[in-house]
């Protein structure tokens, strides 16, 4: 059940990201017609997304219109910033393989590897 919900949330977000204008529950349901979702299901999913803060809604007449709170790219870079330890105060939550480093450091690393490579080649001969 939980996986199905996650799956739906993702599908709904994909629909919202694809359109530029805010959508009603009915419109979202229609865009996902191949899934044959009940109106209430779509509403529940949109409600959950709104609670998570990734979707905002505005009233228009009798219907709510939903839109993504930020673009997909914005979320991806937020995650990347978290991961690379660039957002201060978030340490210990995630452990990145390598935190971001300066160009000079990277250069130093390349040289080190090249040197070592040369040595091991020589020792093999």
């Amino acid at each position: 059940m939980k996986n199905r919900l996650g799956d739906l949330e993702r599908a709904v977000m994909d629909v919202l990201w694809e359109r530029t204008e805010p959508m009603t529950v009915r419109e979202v349901g229609r865009a996902l017609a191949d899934r044959d979702l009940a109106h209430t299901t779509v509403m529940t999913v949109l409600d959950r997304l709104a609670k998570k803060g990734v979707v905002t809604r505005t009233r228009e007449g009798r219907a709510w219109r939903y839109r993504p709170a930020a673009s997909r790219e914005a979320y991806v870079s937020e995650l990347m910033h978290d991961a690379l330890g660039q957002t201060g105060d978030r340490d210990a939550a995630l452990a990145a393989f390598v935190r971001s480093m300066s160009g000079a450091e990277a250069e130093l690393l390349r040289r080190l590897l090249a040197e070592n490579h040369g040595e091991s080649d020589r020792s093999r001969m």
């Binding site: 993702r10 991806v76 990347m80 978290d82 939550a93 393989f97 390598v98 971001s100």
Partner: protein
């Protein structure tokens, strides 16, 4: 008073040892043992500092720390918190101040731990929710999620129920298959050994004492050691050279492509961390068995003597 003096000596000794450990070279040869040493130092420092303050404050009871505390609580329960015994004799005010300081320090430490824990839980929850929406599966990395971003990154999101390993499209681009496997093994080690829990107390110490630079340096040292532990784990099944190459490729691909902004947050003192990891992967030297045993028994002795001093009725 002897107990107070001894506990003070231990507390100061812990600080000196921490300084020495920060500049020592052996930890990179035995990262697991070094992490144990850091944990013992951290714990012993907290317990001995609080103990020293209590021992001084409770000296009039003549019962030591633990029994003195019981006596104080019993007194307070019987006569209300009038601290009768303490306000007699010399240094009465100083003794009360020491007791207050001990209570405050305890609160700060626990508060820091609680806040860190909550912060971590909150960050992870949001991270997980967003990941659910924007990351996708990839046939090349079964079990991991992929983020469509050109910068190279690989990380894990620890958790009891649903730990996850995430890798960026940029990382898939720069790594070959065997390097990728080594990186994934490294991340698996983090998840399996719950390295995040090892790091948590140190991150909370850093939070509790934000102005104290040694706390931050200790945190960074432990964080680096944990990476080394995961590196060691990964190289049991993968060649260290592949892991080292992966590190270098990340370094070359990572920084440039990430939109600049908060780059300055990255700590960059002494030897660059990645360089330290690469060089020990390429020239592995193990800590000798005797040194390992010495560090471990030292850590046990430190904890044991601190706890014993808490129990001594004098």
């Amino acid at each position: 008073m002897v107990v107070a003096a001894l506990l003070t000596a231990i507390a100061v000794g812990c600080l000196i040892a921490a300084h020495l450990l920060l500049s020592a070279r052996w930890p990179s040869r035995g990262p697991h043992v070094a992490v144990v040493a850091w944990q013992a130092l951290g714990l012993a420092w907290g317990v001995s500092t609080i103990g020293a303050l209590l021992a001084f404050g409770l000296a009039p009871y003549g019962l030591g720390v633990l029994h003195g505390l019981t006596a104080l609580v019993r007194d307070a329960a019987a006569n209300g918190l009038r601290l009768d015994v303490l306000s007699e004799g010399h240094f009465a005010a100083t003794r009360v101040a020491a007791l207050v300081a001990a209570v405050l320090l305890t609160l700060v430490l626990f508060w820091g731990l609680a806040v860190s824990f909550l912060q971590v839980v909150r960050t992870r929850r949001r991270h997980r929710a967003l990941l659910e929406l924007v990351a996708h599966e990839h046939p090349e990395v079964p079990g991991a999620r992929v983020l469509d971003h050109p910068a190279a990154a690989a990380y894990c999101l620890p958790g009891v129920l649903n730990p996850q390993i995430v890798i960026s499209a940029g990382a898939l681009e720069v790594l070959d298959r065997r390097e990728l496997a080594a990186v994934l093994a490294h991340e698996h080690a983090h998840l399996r050994q719950r390295h995040d829990l090892v790091l948590l107390p140190f991150s909370s110490l850093k939070r509790a004492f934000p102005r104290v630079r040694i706390m931050e340096r200790c945190y960074n040292a432990v964080a680096l050691l944990i990476e080394m532990c995961a590196d060691d784990h990964a190289r049991r099944h993968h060649s260290p050279r592949e892991l080292a190459t992966a590190l270098v490729r990340f370094g070359a691909a990572g920084g440039a492509a990430v939109p600049a902004g908060a780059m300055a947050v990255v700590p960059n003192e002494q030897q660059p961390e990645v360089l330290a990891r690469v060089s020990r992967l390429l020239n592995p030297v193990q800590l000798s068995r005797r040194a390992t045993a010495a560090v471990l028994s030292g850590s046990v002795a430190l904890m044991a003597s601190t706890l014993t001093l808490w129990h001594l009725p004098m």
